[in-house]
């Protein structure tokens, strides 16, 4: 008679077996522990409540336990407690996301000892994982570390279950591991990099998932020079600093502190506290901060004692550079020097970008991928699906065995390298997840490269409407059951193809995973010049003002714009498709208030700056015209005009627009729930990255069940997950 304890969740490659071994020593348990395809399996002669409680209470930092199941078995177990080696069959089947250097390792590189100042220090609680992995199983031989033979000291730590480096695959020390170099060469690369940064130079630094371009974040000239070289006029630059430096420059709540300190080490958007150069993020009230997450970052920051700009090292629109030669070739025009090393990056992963209050993921990549999401109740028997996502913030999703793997953010598929990366990712994730799809889910827009690529594959495709996918992504993340009843989807988004052939983006949907009815939404307006409308906010202002009978005002606001040609094009229907986009309505309001009317230099700039303006004390919202759930913004323009004439502040006007829009959409959703047609309200679409809008809609619905995004992006980065949910539901 013996027992087995089955542990499910993220329990491999995170120091779980030595953790169990140590507990077994403490509680005097006899038996063994192994990894297998389902997670971790413990066999023991007897089960002790203290032992079971400690498994949950003292779980290693990177582990996540989904279930602990105890059952009786027939087995003859030997004396003592052993760790069974990973055989071919019991190989580690999963790999966890990369994790920031843990406090123990940071202490170690700052202390005397053989890893003093060593840039590749790591242990089972931290370090590279997914970014160095070539293929599963996750073993040193399958990673970039394969070319480094462990020295005797490292081998001893690796083989000792009592050591925090027991089976740490990337284990290394100066005697046997990778090393840092700087180009042009210098004796002490770290000191030389620090000197250059303090001199105002721009340095390319090799990180975990790619190269960054870095400069002193307190030096306005260096920042201006970086922007000039990168042709990046206004898009906010990410910052890195130790927590005490961040606290000097940013207001950081408890939840934000917790998020920024997570092993995922995401970029977290924080409100400014003390001034830094304006050029970091012109017109924004928030800056994106992250903590140093590799020993190399720690060493450089220790040497300069100030915040660093850390922006991705790439050519405009291209993926981040990961190879040393590629960096020399492509980043040479931007960087004065390169801090590199000889541990290869296998997988390109951008930094994740997140918010803490309310929690949301804006860009899901390093530190989060390849984390999985459980599927909601009812999907247990669903068939394996591959979903191809959108066009601009592409990411794919695979579902299998009740789990969804949402891949990393890849960017605009019109870019050649992004497109190549996308095709590789499909093959790569399928191999990693041992996935052979029964169905492929694609956006119904035939112009998306993701959809076109799916058509070259031999899997049967299921077309999914863009905004249904957004809605389902939100439902799925919140574990809304397959048969949980209908939900109202308030989808506020840029543009996506709707079933009527127009471009949707401000919609009220009513439905479930299998289907939906369109109940209403924003009144459409032409997108003058197609996608150009998303680049030049004034175009949206002009068409909306024209609709409201305020053409004269448009003429005054945009005297030098080619209004006549575009009005003509609109009248003739030349590249002016109708769209109910909410994103373009934000652009229109921003343009009227003088926020980058003639052009945004990055996606969402106008809306972000409009959000940043909001006067939080304002309670009044503009009135929209509503009939039959059709929400017409025509009346708000006269209200804005009156406010401007009355010298009402732009801060109040920005707030009134947000409040009015939030209230009018919320009222429609409330009605559908209170009349019994829906059980809950799902908020999704790229506009819900706007924290103020999200908060206002939630406030207006605070007595009703509201589903919001937290770990899956509300933008098109979450689209693939929603597509997969819909395809799975339709094919169960």
């Amino acid at each position: 008679m013996a027992f087995q304890i089955r542990i499910r969740g993220q329990v491999q490659g995170v120091g779980f077996r030595p953790f169990i071994w140590q507990l077994a020593q403490r509680f005097g348990i006899e038996g063994d522990v192994r990894n297998d395809a389902e997670g971790v399996l413990i066999r023991c002669v007897c089960v002790d409540d203290g032992f079971l409680n400690a498994i949950r209470a003292e779980t290693p930092q990177l582990a996540r336990i989904d279930a602990v199941e105890v059952s009786e078995i027939d087995a003859a177990l030997g004396k003592g407690f052993t760790i069974a080696q990973s055989g071919a069959k019991g190989a580690e089947t999963r790999v966890t996301p990369d994790a920031a250097t843990c406090p123990d390792c940071v202490t170690e590189i700052r202390s005397a000892g053989r890893r003093h100042g060593y840039a590749f220090t790591n242990c089972t609680h931290c370090g590279p994982r997914f970014t160095i992995l070539k293929q599963l199983p996750y073993d040193r031989a399958q990673t970039s570390m394969a070319t480094f033979d462990m020295c005797d000291d490292c081998a001893a730590e690796y083989g000792n279950p009592a050591d925090r480096r027991f089976h740490a695959q990337p284990i290394a020390c100066p005697a046997c591991g990778p090393h840092v170099l700087i180009e042009p060469a210098a004796v002490d690369p770290i000191a030389d990099a620090a000197r250059r940064l303090l001199d105002g130079q721009i340095i390319a630094i090799k990180g975990l998932g790619g190269f960054h371009l870095c400069c002193d974040a307190t030096n306005p000239d260096a920042i201006a020079e970086l922007r000039r070289r990168k042709h990046r006029p206004t898009k906010p630059l990410a910052l890195m600093g130790p927590i005490d430096v961040i606290e000097t420059y940013a207001r950081i709540s408890d939840s934000a502190r917790e998020l920024i300190s997570d092993p995922a080490a995401p970029i977290v958007l924080l409100n400014k506290a003390a001034p830094l150069p304006d050029g970091l993020a012109p017109g924004q009230t928030q800056l994106g901060w992250m903590l140093p997450y590799t020993p190399l970052h720690h060493l450089i920051l220790d040497a300069i004692q100030r915040p660093l700009v850390m922006t991705s090292g790439n050519l405009s629109g291209e993926p981040q550079v990961i190879g040393n030669d590629e960096a020399r070739e492509k980043l040479g025009q931007f960087a004065d020097a390169f801090v590199m090393h000889n541990r290869d990056i296998q997988r390109r992963l951008d930094d994740s970008v997140e918010r803490a209050d309310p929690p949301m993921v804006l860009r899901r990549a390093r530190g989060r991928v390849p984390g999985t999401f459980p599927l909601p109740p009812g999907f247990e028997q669903s068939k394996p699906i591959i979903a191809y996502g959108g066009q601009m913030k592409s990411a794919i999703c695979l579902t299998k065995n009740g789990q969804a793997l949402l891949g990393h953010h890849m960017g605009d598929l019109d870019d050649l390298l992004c497109g190549i990366e996308f095709e590789k990712a499909v093959a790569d994730y399928s191999a990693l997840f041992d996935h052979s799809p029964a169905f492929a889910a694609v956006d119904a827009h035939a112009g998306y490269r993701s959809t076109q690529f799916a058509q070259t594959q031999s899997v049967e495709q299921i077309e999914v409407w863009h905004h249904h996918a957004h809605m389902a992504a939100c439902m799925g993340e919140n574990l809304w059951p397959l048969d949980g009843g209908k939900v109202v989807g308030l989808i506020m988004d840029g543009t996506g193809l709707g079933p009527d052939g127009t471009l949707w983006g401000g919609e009220i949907l009513l439905g479930d995973y299998r289907g939906f009815d369109h109940m209403g939404g924003l009144s459409p307006a032409p997108l003058a010049g197609g996608d150009m409308a998303a680049r030049e906010p004034w175009r949206n202002a002009m068409v909306r003002l024209d609709q409201a009978g305020l053409s004269d005002w448009a003429d005054n606001l945009f005297p030098n714009a080619p209004r006549d040609i575009l009005r003509h094009a609109v009248a003739k229907g030349l590249n002016a498709p109708m769209s109910s986009s909410a994103g373009r309505l934000f652009d229109a309001v921003a343009a009227v208030l003088g926020i980058c009317p003639m052009g945004q230099s990055f996606e969402g700039e106008a809306a972000m700056r409009l959000e940043a303006l909001i006067d939080p004390a304002e309670k009044h919202g503009y009135a929209f015209r509503v009939s039959n759930r059709q929400i017409d913004p025509a009346p708000i323009w006269q209200q804005i005009n009156d406010d401007l004439r009355a010298d009402t502040s732009r801060e109040k006007i920005a707030a009134r627009f947000h409040l009015g829009l939030a209230k009018v959409f919320a009222a429609q959703a409330r009605d559908l729930v209170q009349s019994g047609q829906a059980q809950a309200i799902a908020l999704s679409g790229g506009c819900f990255q706007n924290a103020a809008l999200l908060q206002m809609v939630c406030n207006a619905l605070d007595d009703l069940p509201v589903l919001i995004h937290r770990r899956i992006p509300a933008n098109d980065g979450g689209l693939a997950f929603g597509q997969a949910m819909i395809a799975a539901a339709k094919t169960i």
Binding site: G317, L416, A446, G496, G505, G530, P562, I565
Partner: protein, 340 residues
Amino acid sequence: MNKMLRDERVTLSHGGGGKAMRDLIQSVFTDVFEPESSEDQARLMSDALLEKGAKLAFTTDSYVVTPVEFPGGDIGKIAVCGTVNDLAVGGAKPLWLSAAFIIEEGTEIALLRRIVASMKAEADKAGVKIVTGDTKVVGRGSADQVFITSSGVGVIPADRDIRADSIQDGDVAIVNGVLGDHGATILAARGDMMLMSDLQSDCAALGHLMEAVCHAVPVRACRDATRGGIASSLNEMAEAAGLSIELDETTLPLRAEVKGTCEILGLDPLYLANEGTLVLFVAPEHADAALAAMRSVDTGRDAAIIGRAKAGTPMVTMKTAFGGSRIVDMLVGEQLPRIC
């Protein structure tokens, strides 16, 4: 010329097969084109046909243009140029054309005369003869003034083999002139754009240009970039060659007005129609000679290298001004916005 027909409009009786029709055909078409045979067929002879190994080239196209007259041309000129070009880009010396007209009831006969005169002038310039034809009259609304179908026959000399699948890694892509003028002109003439500019369609026959360049260097492949623009021609060629074609945004020959207009309207000049633009591929060592030969001909004055073929997935890419590369797709129906 039959006086009765002056200043009149086409009626259904002009298509009835009787005297009215005969008068129309005689005075508007045959008097101008002067076909050699009075039989209902052309009887063709050329020395070029006798060369051993020479091939006959045969092509057909229908032309539907609104408006039928525009700055720099009209539907007749396009019909001649388009068919001549279809022959020329394959290496054929264009010789004979046919022209079949579908005419909407109510069309001004004066307009027909202008179209026919312009066809005749263009044919003479290109050194081809319009040797046979047909007319049909349809009721109001069944056509838009005039539709023309024209077929062409030419001869490919024995030593020429111009085909997209012979493009090699490293070959250079050359265009004969600026891109998108025709498409932009048509938009302007339709009143879709209120353009101040004096844009002209690039509509031109390219037979002489092709003869000049073919005599100078071996041309590997050539296409004319008509509907769907240069992007569509290059995609077809990449597909046929099994190679990728890489363009350079900074060297694309574009008129400032066309570029500006495209920006305003959100259109991509790579997809704008051309009627006198071809793209050809030559080995890199022949690029200079090819450029010189093209520039010696009027229709090749602005010839420029726009990119090169590279081993790789068959697709067209363009290096942007900031160094990235974007994929230049085949046009899939009407382009709908994708920014979300």
